[in-house]
């Protein structure tokens, strides 16, 4: 996984609360394999009308927001379905960071597993960042080491689970870590066969 240390990039405002994973990637696009790319289906029903035309007054569709790598939204971003495809859609579209006051738990861990930073700010700061973007500002700098967001001459602090921060900074993959614990897993299983035999096997086996 590609590490995330800092990023200075174009940002796009998405001034909605509870942008759930069903909206991030509608269910009907989820039959595709990852290699086909999910970016074009990101927020499909929000970005396009029934005839597939881009909805002009959505900030994300504006000319000056093309190429954005940072998304700013309101609370409860990524709630709902555990579909990792929601993160694939964001990442394949080009996003590397989402800034919001709160995130769905499963969405956050899926993000981190794909190198996408879920940066948590206060509700007031989210409103201020959204207002600055809507006022015409385009670029945001995000520094994961200092946990700071810079925009115009403002500095905002963001939070992220320390465990996830380390993982993102180093680009670590859980599987590498787990491999070093193979002996512990075997020991656990042996002991649990005694403690909870009904968990280590099923009734019909």
């Amino acid at each position: 996984m590609k590490p995330f240390i800092s990023l200075e990039a174009k940002a796009a405002p998405l001034p909605f609360a509870s942008v759930d994973t069903d909206q991030l990637i509608p269910a009907r696009f989820m039959k595709r394999s990852r290699s086909e790319g999910y970016g074009q289906y990101l927020l499909y029903d929000m970005r396009f009308d029934g005839e597939g035309r881009a909805i002009a007054d959505l900030p994300l569709n504006a000319e000056n927001r093309q190429g954005a790598e940072i998304l700013v939204a309101r609370r409860n971003f990524g709630a709902g379905s555990s579909r990792e495809a929601a993160v694939y859609a964001l990442v394949d579209y080009g996003f590397r960071c989402v800034i919001a006051p709160s995130f769905g738990d499963i969405f956050s861990s899926n993000s981190v597993n794909n190198g996408l930073l879920p940066a948590r700010v206060t509700e007031e700061d989210a409103e201020e960042i959204l207002a600055l973007l809507e006022g015409g500002h385009e670029t945001i700098a995000v520094d994961l080491e200092t946990q700071e967001i810079r925009l115009a001459n403002h500095v905002f602090r963001f939070e992220v689970e320390p465990v996830w921060r380390t993982k993102l900074l180093n680009g670590w993959d859980d599987l590498d870590l787990t491999a070093s614990y193979a002996a512990d897993i075997s020991r656990y299983v042996e002991a649990d066969k005694e403690r909870h035999p009904w968990l280590q096997q099923t009734g019909a086996d």
């Binding site: 509870s18 069903d22 990852r34 709902g80 861990s109 512990d184 909870h196 009904w198 096997q201 009734g203």
Partner: protein
Amino acid sequence: MAKAEPRTLFDKIWQNHVVASQADGQQLLFIDRHLVHEGSFHGFNKLKEKQARVSRPDLTFGIVDHYAPTRTRDINQTDPAIAGMITQLEENCRANDVRIYGLNDPRQGIVHVVGPEQGITLPGATIVCGDSHTSTHGAFGAIAFGIGASEVAHVLMTQTLWQKKPKTMRVRFDGTLGLGISAKDMALSMIATIGADGAQGHAIEYAGEAVRALSMEGRLTLCNLSIESGARCGLVAPDMTTVDFLRGRPLAPQGNLFDRATETWLSLGSDDDAEFAREITIDCRDIAPIVTWGISPEDALPISGTVPRPESTADESRSAHIREAIDYMGLKAGQALSDIAVDRVFIGSCTNSRIEDLRAAAAVLNGRKAAVPGLVSPGSSVVKQRAEEEGLDRIFIDAGLEWVDSGCSMCVGMNGDLVPPGERCASTTNRNFKGRQGPKARTHLMSPAMVAAAAVTGRLTDVRDLMGGRA
């Protein structure tokens, strides 16, 4: 000897499953049961990329549900793209010696209905699935939560998962439920109280008199909706209701082993003085039948309420949300909820498709006609058969509703069971998100009895008005 620290039920099960701990607080948990469905293909693909195999096929269970067609069980009569999703799961399972409850298996159904029904779900276990409503299984006193595809791949390969322990929260439901009020109403009132992100980062233990009084079906509904409050999972301490439900289930322990397991299960519970990071109490006497009016499960109100006004709150973000919801749902601020006409109804999903749910809906529909069309999809083939033995299918069909096969169906529409654009559906499901039941579809969540009432009158209706002499 020093007295042991009092612990919560969640802490006890968690600690039982720790394989290793890291200095930063991450812990490697052993996973006792892993459920996979058609959507798990990303996880299987990652496994293939690494040329790995499923580490514990005996603890992995494949179930066809998300794309299961409900009007035919003939794969050749099914849309090829949908059929492809089903055969892909069957092939992935077979290639890895994972048992599969396929489309034509008499035990097939929604993963969160089949797990408990077959005795796959057990108290004290850790259970994961690439589906957020895995929280359902917590009804048995298990730690059960949804995971993403990268995590699915990790569990397939190692039967473990790195996690940071969530905080604990206790939600106590005091008192008893009124007539016509169900676990769905308990859950929706809780979500309306704490918000759709109110329990983020927490594991909820449900306790109190009303929870103890719930059947396993009711507890499953309650735990199912935990995720809609943002919680990682929800759980209920095992008791004799739990044990009685499990006895004789095909994959539950049998004979002496069942007795030994029962002893362990009944000893699981939070210590009296265990501390929770948060506690809330809800008085069941205050719970009326609830419906959602908006686009998030927190947009829930008693049926006697009215559609909120955006200007009723000074919170800019909330009032923007109300405006967005009213606009999407095609409602008017201040409109009485009981004046909202619906175009169709849906009874099904892992939230409310078990036998008790069907009985509750049938009790209202018995001898009546539905004013609007609708679909009834039982949670599993086992539930379907049971309902037919009880004659519930006749009640639905005579009322004018369609009685179909089991699967996720119109909860998510992946199999093609969709609410047409702009139409309004009274639904027993769990998500009223924009487009959840189909592009531009409008969803109102409520209990099975309330959906039945809406079917009869063609608008959102207090089921208690239709219950004279029925229950």
